[in-house]
Amino acid sequence: MNKTDALIIGAGPTGLFTAHQLKIIGLDCEIVDNLDKIGGQCIELYPDKPIYDIPAVPECTGEELTNNLINQLKPFKIKFHLNERVDEVKREEDNWVVKTNNGTTFSTPNVIIAGGVGSFEPRKFPVKECEKFENKSVLYSIKDKSIFQGKTVTIFGGGDSALDWAVELSKNSKVNLVHRRDDFRGAQATVDKVHDLAKKGKINLYTKYQMNSIKGEKQLESIDIKNDDKETKTLKTDYALGFFGLIMQLGPIADWGLNIDKKTVEVDTEKFETNQKGIYAVGDICSYPGKLKLILSGFHEGALAARACFKLARPNEKYRFEFTTASKTIKGRLGIKGD
């Protein structure tokens, strides 16, 4: 069991700056995020898109903003738990016991939800029957490519993941690549490679097709694909892989007894606390009268939630407001020597 003063759910800009604010006032914290990297929507959805409304930063990309926030956290030791989704939050005496899908547990008086619009999950095939085979022969990510050795694999998608895996798996498997249009959005070099492998008969390319149905009793046997002109083809296959990017799902947060309206969590504007004592929501996921979904609002909300955490984490101490420009204590925490 990991004990911490505050657990932050979500490593997007708001979660990162909230961590900074907690450390500045002398609290420790850990951060959990379902993505495999730090940065949240900024890094997953728009790493290259410029942002123009971060105060004092005329222009920066999602990736630059993330890197700057990570740099700002450099003086502090903060433990990140990436690739983990918080599944359970339960009250035990004065603390919240938090459990992730990997079985990591935390005990903390303060849980700060900085989860954006929820956790990123792979988008799935629209065909309902795929659920029957999910994680067995219908996959949305690859953990062990050796299972495909000598098998037939049908890959759906037109981005880098689909193309990279088509190229890689074509070495030792029979590969079908299915995409809804002729154009691919992956890197040009990979697109060229796929076309080259298709010419050589190493990849069977089906463009303008999408999955129509899936067949098999205990095991996946074949997939029917259909094009816009309603022509169908049956592909015998051992595996179906879907690479349609990620989508945000509110997920387990809905089950924690919080007041939720339209995928957002209601909070007060003093502490950004939810209806549960010691659970806060900051950034895009929180709602209150006048809420603006801007990154700068998330920074403000995180700063106030961090101060509220102090009371529950250090019930016998009094929080004292200090400026970073003047406080020796804060400079000490930042590792700055001298005045």
Binding site: Q41, L45, G159, R180, D183, F244, I247
Partner: protein, 106 residues
């Protein structure tokens, strides 16, 4: 103000007046029309404001710009007449536009 009709997957018809200059996505969100999630808030980064545009309207609305088709690759059940509603800007020319909302956004 321009009349826009949103038809949900279970055939509920919502006709609303949307201010010119807003997007078809914003028109749906502001009028609480279900089925358009718009997770990224109009940044053409998530494909959760996906709609189908009727044939009679598809060629009348401004064509897709770079990137929209890429995002539609990820949409739920994309078709030939798929668009991202955050990329369709409401104007007088669109008066009477009808869009169908898919059964899911992802």
């Amino acid at each position: 103000m321009t009349k826009i009709t949103y038809v949900t997957h279970d055939n509920q018809i919502h006709t609303v007046e949307v201010q010119n200059g807003l997007t078809v996505m914003e028109g749906a969100v502001q009028n609480d029309i279900p089925g358009i999630d718009a997770d990224c808030g109009g940044g053409m980064a998530c494909a959760t404001c996906h709609v189908y545009v009727n044939d009679e309207w598809f060629d009348k609305i401004p064509a897709k710009e770079d990137g929209e088709e890429d995002m539609l690759d990820m949409a739920f059940e994309p078709k030939k007449n798929s668009r991202l509603s955050c990329q369709i800007i409401v104007s007088d020319d669109l008066d009477g536009l009808k869009v169908n909302i898919p059964s899911k956004q992802g």
